[in-house]
C-alpha cells in the first residue's frame, strides 16, 4: 500500500502531488469510479461478510443487557443499582456523560472541521456522525432510566398540561433535556442531509428493485444539479455553524449538572471547557477505536490514511493537554482556595478509599497518552493507536467516575459519608449500551455509506482546476 511509504521524506512521498506539491489527504490512484465502487460496494454487495453477522449478533446479544436490566429496573426500582444516599448518582450518570462525550467528536469532525475547511474530515465524518448518533442514543437512555419514575419523564418537557405545571427552567437537568434532544435531532438532520447525495449514488448503482426503492426514497429525488449542490453546500455550512455552538454548549450544559451544585469537587468554574475538551478527547479516542478496525476489515487504508490517524492523534494530544490542564487546575485550586472542604476533596480523591480510581485516571488519561502522542512514530502506529484509544476511553470513563463518585461519597458532613459499590445491574446496563452501540453501528456499516462518496470525489486531483485543459480531459474520461 502506498501509505506505508516514509511519509516524512518529501521526495519519495506518494502522498504529495508531484504537480501541485500539495499534500494529499487520500492515497493516490483513485478516480471517481473507483471511490464510488469501493464505498458503494460495501452497501450494495449481495455477499455480506460473515464477520458482519458475527458482530451484529454479538452486539445484539450484549444489547439484551439493556433490555433485561431496564425491565428489572422498571419492575423493582432504582434500588437494584448501587446508588446510596450520599452517592445518589452512580453508573447511570457516569455512563450518560461518558456516552455524550463520545458523541461530541463526531460533531467536531463534521461541523467544526468543516468550518475550518479541513479536508481530512471527509473520510471520517460519516461514521463519526453515526458514532455521535448512536452514542447519543445510548446516552439518552440513562437520563430516562435513572429517574425513579421513568413513566413520568415526559414531565420534563414544557407542554401545556392540566396541572398548569412547567419544568423548572433553572435546573441544569432540565437543560440536559433540551440540550440532548436538540443535539440528537440536529445530529440526525446533519447526518441525513450529508447522506442524500450518496443515497442518490446508491439508488443509481443498486440492481435490486427493493434497494433502488429504499435508497431512492431516502435520496428524495436528488439529481445532483448545480442548484441542488449550491443549496446543499449552504445547508451544510449553516448546519455546521449551528452545530458548533451546539456541541460546545451541550457538554457545557452537562458539566453544569455538576458545576451548578455547591459540592466541593463539583462547584468549579473550569468544568464547562474542561468537560468539552474531555468530550472531544474521548470522542476522538472512540473514532480511532472504530476507524482502525473498519479501515482494516473493509480495506479502507487508502481512504482513511495514516494522515487521518495522525491528525486525530494530534487532536487527542491537544484536547488531552487541555484535560491535563483541567486536572492540574483542580489540584491547584484545591490548595489555592484555602477551602478546607476543597482541600479534603482533593486529598480524598488522591489518597482516600477510592484513590485507585484517581490514579488510574491520571495514568490512562495523562501519563500514557500525553507522553507518547508526541512521537510521530507512535501516532502512525496503527496497533499502538488502537490500544491507546481504548486506554483513553477507559480513562475518560474513570474521569466521570472520579468526578461523580468521589465528590459525593465524602462531602461536608462526615456523618453522611458513605461509599459506592456498583451492582451487577449497573454493569449489565452499561455493558448493554456498548452492545446497543455496536449493534447500531454494524447496521450502519452494512446499509448506509460509511464514507461520504460525494465528498471524497471532490478531493480527487481530477476535480482540481489547473492551468491548461489536461485535467478537464481526465475528468471527462473518468466521470462515471
Amino acid at each position: 500500500m502506498a501509505t506505508k511509504g516514509p511519509m516524512q521524506d518529501p521526495i519519495v512521498d506518494p502522498m504529495i502531488d508531484p504537480r501541485t506539491g500539495e499534500y494529499a489527504v487520500i492515497a493516490p490512484g483513485h478516480n471517481f469510479k473507483s471511490v464510488t465502487q469501493k464505498i458503494a460496494g460495501i452497501v450494495l454487495t449481495s455477499n455480506t461478510p460473515l464477520g458482519w453477522f458475527f458482530g451484529l449478533m454479538v452486539g445484539g446479544g450484549v444489547a439484551l443487557g439493556v433490555v433485561i436490566g431496564c425491565t428489572w429496573l422498571f419492575l423493582k426500582g432504582v434500588g437494584i443499582w448501587g446508588v446510596t444516599i450520599p452517592g445518589a448518582w452512580g453508573f447511570a450518570i457516569i455512563n450518560f456523560v461518558w456516552w455524550i462525550g463520545i458523541g461530541h467528536a463526531g460533531t467536531l469532525i463534521s461541523a467544526i472541521l468543516l468550518l475550518f475547511k479541513q479536508t481530512w474530515r471527509n473520510s471520517i465524518n460519516r461514521f463519526a456522525e453515526a458514532m455521535t448518533i448512536f452514542a447519543v442514543v445510548c446516552a439518552g437512555t440513562f437520563p430516562l432510566i435513572h429517574v425513579g419514575r421513568p413513566w413520568l419523564a415526559y414531565w420534563l418537557f414544557p407542554y401545556p398540561n392540566t396541572m398548569n405545571v412547567w419544568p423548572q427552567f433553572r435546573s441544569p437537568l432540565a437543560w440536559d433535556v433540551f440540550a440532548v434532544s436538540t443535539y440528537a435531532s440536529i445530529s440526525i438532520i446533519f447526518w441525513y442531509i450529508g447522506m442524500i447525495p450518496d443515497f442518490g449514488t446508491l439508488r443509481d448503482r443498486a440492481t435490486m428493485p427493493a434497494a433502488k426503492y429504499f435508497y431512492g426514497m431516502l435520496s428524495l429525488g436528488w439529481r445532483g444539479s448545480t442548484r441542488h449542490w449550491i443549496r446543499y453546500e449552504s445547508a451544510s455550512l449553516l448546519l455546521a455553524g449551528l452545530s458548533t455552538p451546539l456541541v460546545l454548549s451541550v457538554h457545557t450544559v452537562i458539566s453544569f449538572d455538576f458545576a451548578v451544585a455547591a459540592l466541593a469537587g463539583w462547584h468549579t468554574t473550569i468544568f464547562p471547557p474542561y468537560f468539552v475538551a474531555g468530550a472531544v478527547y474521548s470522542g476522538f479516542a472512540m473514532v480511532l477505536t472504530l476507524a482502525i478496525p473498519i479501515r482494516k476489515f473493509y480495506h479502507m487504508e487508502d481512504l482513511v490514511t495514516l494522515r487521518h490517524l495522525d491528525n486525530m492523534a494530534k487532536v487527542m494530544l491537544a484536547t488531552g493537554s487541555i484535560v491535563a490542564y483541567g486536572y492540574g487546575m483542580e489540584v491547584f485550586m484545591a490548595w489555592y482556595s484555602a477551602s478546607h472542604w476543597e482541600f479534603f476533596m482533593m486529598w480524598n480523591r488522591m489518597f482516600g478509599p477510592m484513590g485507585w480510581a484517581y490514579w488510574i485516571l491520571i495514568l490512562t488519561n495523562i501519563a500514557i497518552p500525553l507522553t507518547s502522542l508526541w512521537s510521530r512514530k507512535l501516532r502512525v502506529n496503527v496497533t499502538y493507536l488502537f490500544i491507546l484509544s481504548l486506554i483513553v476511553n477507559t480513562g475518560m470513563w474513570f474521569e466521570r467516575f472520579v468526578i461523580v463518585v468521589t465528590s459525593l461519597y465524602r462531602d461536608y458532613l462526615p456523618s453522611s459519608w458513605g461509599t459506592y459499590r456498583a451492582t451487577k445491574w449497573d454493569y449489565m446496563i452499561y455493558v448493554g449500551t456498548m452492545g446497543l452501540f455496536t449493534f447500531l453501528f454494524f447496521l450502519f456499516v452494512r446499509f448506509l455509506p460509511m464514507i461520504p462518496m460525494s465528498e471524497i470525489r471532490m478531493m480527487l486531483p481530477q476535480t482540481k482546476v489547473t492551468r491548461g485543459g489536461a485535467d478537464a480531459e481526465t475528468v471527462s474520461k473518468e466521470t462515471v
Binding site: 392540566t162 396541572m163 398548569n164 405545571v165 433502488k212 426503492y213 431512492g216 429525488g221
Partner: protein, 200 residues
C-alpha cells in the same frame, strides 16, 4: 432503463408532506384529549350506585338542605357521606316496602355499610378541605354543579389541577355570600358588580 419511481410518485411525495402535517396535528389533538376529554376526567359519567339515590328528588323535590345529610361540610375536611341512619330517619316509615330501598334496610339490619361509589375521587396526594371553602364563600354548586338537578350523581367539573388553580389565582369571580353557599340556584356575581366577600 426504467425510472425507479413513476409519475404518480410526485403526488405521493407531496401527499406525504401533507400527511406528516396531519399526523402531527392529529397527535397533538389526541394527546390533548388524553388529558382533557370527559372520557378521561370522568365528567358526566353516572356510575351504578348500589341504590339509585336521586339528589334531584331529595333536594329539589323535598327541599332538603345540603348539610342535613353532608353534616361535616362546615367543620371537617371531608363533607362526609351520610350513614344508613340518616336514610332510616325517614325510610323507616316511608316507602318501607320499596324494592329500591332494600339495600338500605339490609344495611340497617346487618350493620354493614352501604358501598357507595365515589364520584368525586381525588388522588390521595391531594389534601382537599371542604370546610375552608364553604366558610370562605364557595358555594356547593360552584364545584359540584347543579346537584339539585342530578337524578344520579355525576362529576360536573374536571377536578384537575388547572381547574383548582384557575380559581385560586382569581377566586373573586366564584365567591358568594356565606348565606348563599347552599343555594344551588344562586347566580354568581358578574365581573361588573363588586364582589361581596365574607369576613368570617
Amino acid at each position: 432503463m426504467a425510472q425507479v419511481f413513476d409519475r404518480s410518485s410526485n403526488a405521493l411525495a407531496r401527499f406525504s408532506l401533507v400527511l406528516t402535517g396531519v399526523i402531527v396535528i392529529a397527535l397533538g389533538v389526541t394527546l390533548d384529549q388524553l388529558q382533557r376529554s370527559p372520557w378521561v376526567t370522568r365528567q358526566g359519567q353516572r356510575p351504578d350506585q348500589p341504590i339509585p339515590f336521586s339528589h334531584k328528588h331529595h333536594v329539589e323535590g323535598l327541599g332538603l338542605q345540603c348539610q342535613y345529610c353532608h353534616t361535616q361540610v362546615e367543620k371537617a375536611a371531608y363533607a362526609g357521606i351520610p350513614p344508613t341512619k340518616t336514610c332510616i330517619n325517614c325510610h323507616a316509615q316511608i316507602w318501607t316496602n320499596a324494592e329500591l330501598l332494600e339495600p338500605v334496610r339490609q344495611s340497617w339490619a346487618t350493620g354493614a355499610s352501604i358501598q357507595w361509589i365515589r364520584v368525586h375521587d381525588l388522588p390521595d396526594y391531594v389534601y382537599f378541605n371542604h370546610e375552608i371553602h364553604v366558610n370562605k364563600g364557595i358555594g356547593c354548586a360552584s364545584c359540584h354543579g347543579r346537584v339539585d338537578e342530578m337524578p344520579l350523581m355525576y362529576q360536573q367539573n374536571t377536578l384537575q389541577m388547572e381547574w383548582c388553580l384557575n380559581c385560586h389565582r382569581n377566586p373573586a369571580v366564584n365567591l358568594r355570600p356565606t348565606s348563599e353557599i347552599y343555594n344551588m340556584a344562586w347566580a354568581g356575581p358578574s365581573n361588573d358588580k363588586p364582589v361581596w366577600c365574607t369576613t368570617t
